[in-house]
């Protein structure tokens, strides 16, 4: 506070946030050493770019504690972590960064965060399967600040990696994704709206963009992924969108649990689309279903290819709505197969993993 100055008889070197003061540079209390960067307390900013700015594209690279100085501390000039949360024993959460790793072409950074104390605190993802971890990461990304951790939990490596994947999804599927703060926020808002409010025009624009930049086979996979998530229609609010996404993911888990896919054969999605829908993309229309599938169709040939990009399989329908093989011909069940065995034969020969 103005006019008040703390003077220690032992020349205590540490100030705000427990960081060492560099008083000799700009005067008392005006500069601190955070280890990774130098902090100017008068600006409330670091003097150099955040080494982890790739991981936090939505922040200016000079921000302190994620622009949340009340709720968070900045550990070493690297990233924000909540400091006010107390566990059920009233103890303060303490974190330390033990290592950083760079991942090849993705260029993302992984931070191995471990909690020092207290020892009874649990990782946020304890008891969660991978899909639940992914959901939590997605929720935290879509609604920053809303999905806080419980006081006796800490953010662990699994969640941080899942969050990186969510970011990776955005950065690779959203045209114009930018690391600059204002552009990123705008795109984040637009993408979230597209994801949860059924903005098919945006999704289709995404696909057009993606089509330009890469090869056809790659396009099918990436474009369909973007399309399948983008027009998930929501009539009320973002929460029902998340609930819907949750159903899609639960269905995926259920499919996996029941082991159906292991009984199915494999198929070449690109070749099947070329053969049955044609290679002229202008004649192919597509729509995303509310369960995360993409239906590609060509009215002229009458065929539809139903792709489930999340679970990596597809089916083919002829003009009468019958499921057929990748050659477009109906699957004839051998006469010796009866009942469920006949059904299984049909299912196995009209589902194709890819």
């Amino acid at each position: 506070m103005p006019g008040r100055k703390f003077t220690s008889t032992t020349n205590y070197r540490y100030g705000f946030n427990g960081k060492e003061e560099d008083d000799e540079v700009k005067g008392d209390g005006n500069q601190q050493d955070y280890g990774m960067r130098i902090y100017d307390t008068r600006l409330g900013r670091f003097l150099s770019v955040d080494p982890l700015s790739k991981k936090f594209p939505y922040y200016t690279p000079y921000q302190y504690a994620g622009n949340k100085p009340i709720w968070c501390v900045d550990l070493d000039g690297l990233e924000d972590l909540p400091s006010t949360a107390l566990n059920k024993y009233g103890e303060k959460q303490v974190y330390e960064i033990t290592s950083t790793t760079e991942y090849g072409s993705a260029g993302t950074l992984s931070i191995d965060v471990r909690k020092k104390t207290p020892s009874h605190a649990q990782p946020v993802t304890k008891g969660m399967n991978d899909i639940q971890v992914y959901q939590l990461a997605f929720n935290r990304f879509a609604e920053p600040g809303k999905h806080l951790i419980k006081s006796n939990q800490y953010i662990d490596e699994r969640l941080m990696k899942a969050e990186q994947q969510v970011e990776y999804f955005y950065s690779h599927n959203v045209p114009g994704w930018s690391k600059s703060e204002s552009a990123t926020r705008t795109i984040h808002a637009a993408t979230t709206a597209a994801l949860f409010s059924g903005n098919e025009a945006y999704a289709k624009a995404s696909v057009e963009q993606i089509k330009i930049v890469d090869t056809w086979d790659y396009n099918i996979n990436i474009a369909s992924l973007a399309v399948s998530f983008a027009p998930i229609k929501v009539y009320q609010n973002i929460n029902s969108g998340l609930a819907r996404l949750s159903r899609v993911i639960n269905r995926s888990a259920s499919l996996s649990d029941k082991g159906f896919q292991s009984a199915w054969g494999t198929g070449d999605l690109g070749a099947t689309m070329d053969n049955l829908l044609g290679k002229d993309f202008s004649k192919i229309s597509f729509e995303a279903t509310e369960t995360g599938k993409v239906v590609w169709s060509n009215e002229q040939t009458g065929f539809k290819v139903i792709q489930d990009p999340l679970n990596k399989y597809f089916r083919v329908q002829n003009k009468d709505g019958h499921y057929v093989g990748t050659d477009g011909k109906q699957v004839v069940t051998p006469s010796n197969l009866k009942g469920k065995a006949a059904k299984d034969y049909q299912q196995q020969n009209t589902h194709f993993n890819y």
Binding site: S254, T291, G321, A342, Q346
Partner: protein, 118 residues
């Protein structure tokens, strides 16, 4: 004799074993059955109620769009008719619930089952 049109989502309650067998084999002509179809938008509205997710979780089914599933167990059909439908039945989709209940009733009476072609 009925021919099931698969261009729209539909629910079929075969009336005899021969028709059950045909459905298992992916044959949809000349069936003895009770069936009703509805628009894909209606299907997604019903999905939105959580009814099929409830059935999937409760009975270990995989009812989803562009998939086929069936329920052949009489006890399950009775529970769905007397219990599960009532939990989700709403005025907005009354015709769906009534048609669905009618199909289940047929399946119970004829000792067959119901097939979902979504």
């Amino acid at each position: 004799m009925t021919t099931v049109n698969l261009r729209k989502p539909c629910i079929v309650a075969p009336s005899d074993d021969n028709s059950v067998e045909k459905l298992y084999r992916g044959e949809f002509n000349n069936l003895e059955c009770d069936y009703f179809s509805f628009s894909r938008n209606k299907l997604y509205e019903i999905f939105e109620t959580g009814f099929f997710e409830h059935l999937n979780n409760k009975y270990g089914l995989l009812i989803s769009d562009y998939e086929q599933e069936e329920i052949m167990d009489k006890e399950k059909l009775v529970t769905i008719l007397n219990d599960d439908i009532k939990k989700f039945k709403d005025l907005k989709h009354l015709s769906f619930w009534n048609d669905f209940a009618k199909c289940i009733t047929t399946a119970i009476e004829k000792g067959t089952g119901i097939f979902f072609f979504f």
